[in-house]
Symmetry: C2
Subunit: 168 residues, 2 copies
DNA sequence: ATATATTTTCAATAAGTTTTGAAAATTCAA
DNA sequence: TTGAATTTTCAAAACTTATTGAAAATATAT
């Protein structure tokens, strides 16, 4: 397979993959393109390579910057802005985990602890099932939260190394 | 807070939460409703409680069954079919992980190993960055794959117990 | 200051996804 | 069988989300 084809396939698959993970197709495609670009590239490069409009590139690069996955780079002597992506996949993964935890898991856990404080007779079948379900999810979520925190703070070699040794 | 309000809020939030995780809103809402229902319920119950059409319930319960999260239950003497959800959150989580691994991670890893076999001069900057990126993702994905496999096979108390002790 | 290059915004539109509802298919009892 | 109850299907409609493109804003060089 030639580089050009391989690139196209990677970008397309990474885009499809992203949609399963709460990231939109184009945003994931731009991220893919930046991941395989050795040097920073411009809005126009992205527009051209992915055949998308300027506005689209602008909005999605901004989101990627918000996720902490992409940086704006100023190149001396160049008028245009350049973009570059973090290439270390461990850092990419921990960054995504950190953001999603903040945006999704933490608010959900907060809500669950409120819902557990329901009034009503614990002997009632419906009340009991509700409280038990909420408590179960909250307990599980709380534990996941702790593990993810360790992971976010950890260094890749330490984390995966220990984990794999542990599970062998 | 009253049970009725708490239920409504849980269903609505679980639905919104689901959309971030590749599961559609209604499917997640039906799942939430089943999680807090102590006994199996019918299509009509779901239609009524969530104010959605019969076709919608039918399609989404089918999907939930496909994910292994919901079962059809036959109640002797009843003509209608009943539905019930797995209540143990650890089992729910491992089942989701198992399915998503099969549907998303495994195909992605397969593709990546193909893309690594690219023709071209390794000294070329573009080729090098491409190969390095793919290799990095593949390595990371492969390790995640192993950890998830252990998790899927493990028992909750063993898994989380060990993990938390380990990370303390 | 002015002209030019570049980026940002956002209303309109396009594309994609979910939902409905009624017709077709299936199941089951008599 | 027949017919009533129930489930399934799927084209059309409703809704949601993503994309465009041109105008406005901003930045930079002369």
């Amino acid at each position: 397979m030639k580089l050009t084809d391989a690139k196209a396939q990677f970008i397309s698959s990474w885009g499809a993959f992203g949609t399963h993970w709460g990231i939109n197709r184009t945003m994931a495609q731009i991220h893919a393109l930046l991941l395989i670009s050795p040097d920073p590239i411009t809005q126009d490069d992205i527009m051209e390579q992915l055949s998308i409009s300027r506005g689209n590139v602008n909005m999605n690069t901004r989101d990627l910057i918000g996720w902490g996955l992409v940086d704006r780079v100023l190149i001396p002597g160049e008028r245009k802005e350049f973009f570059t992506a973090e290439k270390d996949i461990w850092k990419v993964a921990t960054q995504i985990i950190k953001e999603r935890k903040k945006r999704e898991l933490d608010p959900m856990l907060k809500l669950l602890s409120q819902l557990e404080q329901i009034e009503g007779d614990k002997k009632d079948k419906d009340v009991k099932q509700f409280v038990d379900t909420i408590a179960g999810i909250r307990k599980f979520g709380g534990q996941a939260d702790k593990v993810l925190d360790v992971m976010i703070k950890a260094d890749e070699s330490w984390f995966l190394g220990s984990l794999l040794k542990f599970f062998k």
